[in-house]
Each structure stands twice: as C-alpha cells, then as structure tokens.
C-alpha cells in the first residue's frame, strides 16, 4: 500500500445523471483524469455544477461512474475496506441531531470499527473546540459547531486521505483559520487532503496543487506556483471558466 505515490487517481471518468425512464440527463463528468499525490493538499476548484462533488462521491462509492476508473492508493476506489483509509466531510451532511456530541462521534467511531474510542473522542472534541459541549445534543449546536463536529467525525480513524467538500462553509473567520491550521498540521503528519472549495484565497494559501473543473471537464491541473506565476488564482480561475463558456 505505502509504495504507491498516488493517493487518488482518476482516469477518463464519465458520469451522466439519467432522467426519468433512463433518458439522458446532466453530464456531470466528461472524461476527467487527475491524480492526487500522497502527502499533498490538493484543491478541486470549479463553479457550481462543475462536477467536483460527483468526482468525490465516485471516489467514495456513493455514486458510480459510467466509464473510466478511479483508484485510491492504487486500488479500485469502490472497495469498502478502502474507506478505512479515508475521512470524508460532505458539503451537505446531516448529523444525528438527537445524539450528544460525544455519542455522535462514538457512533461514527463504531462504524469505523474502532475499539478504544473514549480517549480519542475526547481529544478530537478538544481539538474541535467542543470539549465543554460534549454532552450537548447536536440539535442545540450552531452551524459552525456542527461543521466542527462533522470535521471531527472525518478525522476519527486518523485517515490517510481526507476528502473535504466545502470544509469552511458555515464557519466564521476564526473557525476558518483554525480549520486551515488544522489542515496544514495534518499535512505535516502525512495526511493527504483533497479539498473542494469556492474560497479561492483559502485554496491558494494551503494547497500544493489544484485542478479546475467546469461543466464536467478538467480545464487545468497544476501546482499553485505554476498557475499563479502571473496572475492570482482567482484571475486564472475566472479566465479559464469564462474561456470555456465562450
């Protein structure tokens, strides 16, 4: 496992969401190929409907590709066992509102098959700034607190690959800064991070490499340095997307 250089590899990935009775619907991915190397922070950029979330869902076996292949650490991504290596924070998530914070994390820890959970959960609650709310029910949490708890559930099993879909949504500036620092710390510890975000400045600051998607096509992939030699990432992004629309 550890010999592979790529944490994620997708090859000619295609996905069309069918309409009623199998009629052709939306083409979410049109032959996207990209790689995420182990140990890097990779940014997935694109306007709404670009196919970012579909790509992530295919990697996690939540959605199935029509054509092409997707690999995690060199193995077909649909393998259930691979999810022991992956932590996922979806853009739209619903935590069990009726559970207390620590119990919610305990539930997710059990899904990962973790035996010794108590100390690790306490540590994660402390890291998430939710230590003093451990016994509060999730329904009593603000959006920002839920976001931190959702991020904590993705980190429970110390994943080798962390996939984050809009991780700083619902967070205030301090919360964003904390998440950003946490991601940098995780990278230092060897975690690979695939992050999808609309906040380009955030991506520019923390990502090693980025890919820009638009309407299911990969417009550009490269290091942040390569893409921002002459212009800011925001300008590059807007230019590429507008160019693709014309």
């Amino acid at each position: 496992m550890d010999g592979h250089r790529n944490a994620v590899e997708v090859i000619e990935l295609q996905k069309t969401y069918r309409g009623l009775w199998g009629r052709a619907g939306v083409e979410a991915l049109k032959g996207v190929s990209l790689t995420v190397r182990e140990g890097e922070i990779f940014g997935l950029l694109g306007p709404n409907g670009a196919g970012k979330t579909t790509l992530i869902k295919i990697l996690l076996g939540i959605t199935f590709a029509d054509h092409g292949r997707a690999y995690l650490f060199g193995q077909e991504s649909h393998r259930v066992e691979l999810r022991r290596l992956v932590g996922y924070l979806p853009e739209d998530y619903q935590l069990p509102e009726y559970l207390r914070a620590w119990k919610a994390l305990d539930f997710f820890a059990k899904l990962y098959g973790l035996g010794e959970r108590r100390a690790h959960i306490s540590e994660l609650l402390r890291l998430s700034g939710l230590e003093d709310r451990r016994d509060s029910k999730v329904r009593e949490f603000s959006k920002g607190m839920r976001q931190r708890l959702a991020l904590a559930q993705a980190l429970l099993h110390r994943p080798k690959l962390l996939i984050l879909d809009e991780p700083t949504a619902h967070l205030d500036p301090i919360g964003r800064k904390e998440v950003k620092d946490l991601l940098v710390q995780l990278k230092r510890d060897g975690t690979t991070i695939l992050i999808s975000s609309h906040v380009l400045t955030e991506i520019e600051r923390i990502c090693d490499r980025v890919a820009i998607l638009h309407r299911g096509q990969l417009l550009k992939e490269g290091t942040v340095e390569e893409l921002t030699q002459e212009k800011s990432l925001e300008d590059v992004f807007v230019e590429l997307v507008r160019g693709a629309q014309e």
Partner: protein, 305 residues
C-alpha cells in the same frame, strides 16, 4: 488505520459497525418518541390488567373464577360461550378466561401492534435515506448490503423486544392471577413478529424506491389486504373463474396472512385443533421476505446517491 488487519479483526470491526447501526435505530426511535409511545401502550395494557382486572376463585367450585373490572363484576363472553350465573356473580372456567385474554392480546397485536410497528420502523428506515445522512453512512467502511440489513434488523429487533415484553408480561400476570400460564402465547408472539418482519421487508423496499414513508406504508397495507383475499379463493372462484385465478396467484405469491393467523390461534388453543400444514405458509412467507430483502439490497447497492 491500516488495511492489513487480520480477517478476524475485520470481522469484529464489521460486527461492531453492524451493531452500531442497529443501536442507532433504537436511539433514533426513542428520540422520535414513537418507541416511548409504544412502550407506554404496552406498559399501560399490562398495568390495566395487573390492577384493573380482578380474578377470584369461586369457593367450592374448583377451576371456576369470577372476573371484575376495577371492582365491578363482569359478564365475560368466553370462546365456548359457557357462563354460569350463581349468587357470587358471573362465573367462568379459569381456562376459558385465560384463553379469552390471550385472544384479546393477539387481537391487539394483529393488526394494531403490527401496524404501529410498521409505522415506527418504516419511518426509521426512510430517515436513513436522507441525503446528508446517507453520505456520512456510505462513506464509512460498511457495505451497503450490511447497512440495509442492519437497519432492517434494528426495526425487527425493536418490535421483537416490545412484543416479547408484552407477551411475557401478560403471561406472568396471568400466572400470578390464575396460576395458569400458557407458553403458547410466547410462540404466538414470535409468529406475530414473523408476520411483522415479512411486511417490514416489503415496506423497506417501497421506502427505498419512493424515499418516503407515506406511500410505502399505504402500499404495504393495500398488498396486505390483497394477501387476505387468499382466504376467499373458493368463494371468488364461484363468482368468476378469473377472480378465482387472480386470488390463486395472489395467494401463492404473497405472504399467507390467513394461514399465519390460523397458526397463531392454534398456538393459543383457540383455533383448529390440528393444522394440516404449518411449514408451507411459514416457508413461503419467509421466501417472500427474503425476496423483498434481496431486491432491496440489490437496488440499494447499485443506486447513485
């Protein structure tokens, strides 16, 4: 976390995840208060019987009892219709009273217990399919078929425990009040749970297809009604051969609800003294449930979310 864990430790991890889904179904049902309502109904019925119903042996007439409701002596219709009026009040044989009470219990369980159980558990199953929640579950190392079956098992276990509590509680109270206890009630309760499990397999499939509770429940009730037509096959055939054939098809495809109810009545000693074929309705109904679960798992495993 590594992928290189041994086969045994993987099995333990999978079992832990499977149990976590079942456990969470229970927590959710308590949070929704529906299970609390169910527990209150069961407890209420047992308390009513414990403190509301009085049973007193008649002096000089062994095996005969008088029944009172909150101190007021009652006239009780027994299955055999036997009743003797004496100076002490209305008197019935103790065994008839026990059987009558068991019939009332079974009458509550079918259909009301099963209906309420379906109402609670189908809602629980549908709630798992809410997108944001499903994303968190599907991204965990638990196979979709395990997720589906664990959620199904959570519902069945909930109804199993409630039914068992009700039957065991009633049995104990009967024994305390009359000195008689019929273990057939427990067996009847298990068949009730079996009937529930069969219809729940169908309701979960419909909940999966419609991603809602309402349509799934209504359609399950409609099909339950159609399955009941099996009892009138001969009568329908005399009306029209086509109707008879349709009833035949429904009888052989759908769960054998009437036959299963006959088994329950037999178990509490109220039905026919002997049943010609117990295993056919049990086996074919179990096959129906198995087919519904297999279809549900197949669809769930291939669906995009």
């Amino acid at each position: 976390m590594s992928l290189c864990a041994g086969r045994k430790s993987k099995q333990i991890m999978n079992a832990l995840a499977f149990w976590a889904i079942i456990e969470e179904s229970w927590r959710e049902s308590w949070a929704r208060r529906t299970s609390i309502a169910l527990a209150f109904i069961v407890l209420g019925l047992l308390l009513f019987f414990a403190f509301g119903v009085g049973v007193r042996e008649v002096e000089g007439r062994p095996g005969m009892v008088t029944i009172s409701l909150f101190g007021v002596k009652l006239r009780v219709e027994t299955p055999a219709g036997e009743q003797t009026i004496i100076q002490q009040g209305f008197v019935i044989p103790k065994a008839d009273f026990v059987q009558a009470l068991e019939m009332i219990a079974v009458g509550l369980l079918i259909p009301w217990g099963i209906l309420f159980g379906l109402f609670i558990t189908t809602g629980l199953f549908s709630s798992m399919l809410v997108r944001g929640r499903l994303y968190l579950l599907l991204s965990k190392p638990i196979a979709r078929w395990e997720l589906y079956l664990a959620r199904y098992a959570g519902g069945v276990l909930l109804v199993f425990v409630t039914t068992l509590l009700f039957c065991v509680g009633l049995l104990l109270l009967l024994w305390l009040k009359t000195g008689m206890a019929d273990a057939g009630l427990i067996a009847a309760g298990l068949v009730v749970v079996f009937i529930f499990a069969v219809w729940y397999s169908f309701a979960t499939l419909l909940a999966l297809l419609t991603e809602g509770t309402g349509v799934a429940l209504v359609a399950t009730l409609v099909v339950w009604g159609l399955a009941g037509l099996g009892a009138w096959r001969e009568g329908l055939r005399t009306l029209s051969p086509t109707l008879g054939s349709i009833a035949d098809v429904l009888y052989y495809i759908l769960p054998k609800v009437n036959d299963l109810e006959a088994i329950i009545m037999h178990l509490i000693g109220a039905g026919e003294s002997s049943l010609s074929n117990v295993w056919f309705p049990l086996g074919t109904s179990a096959l129906f449930a198995g087919a519904m679960l297999a279809l549900g798992v197949y669809i769930f495993s291939r669906r995009d979310y």
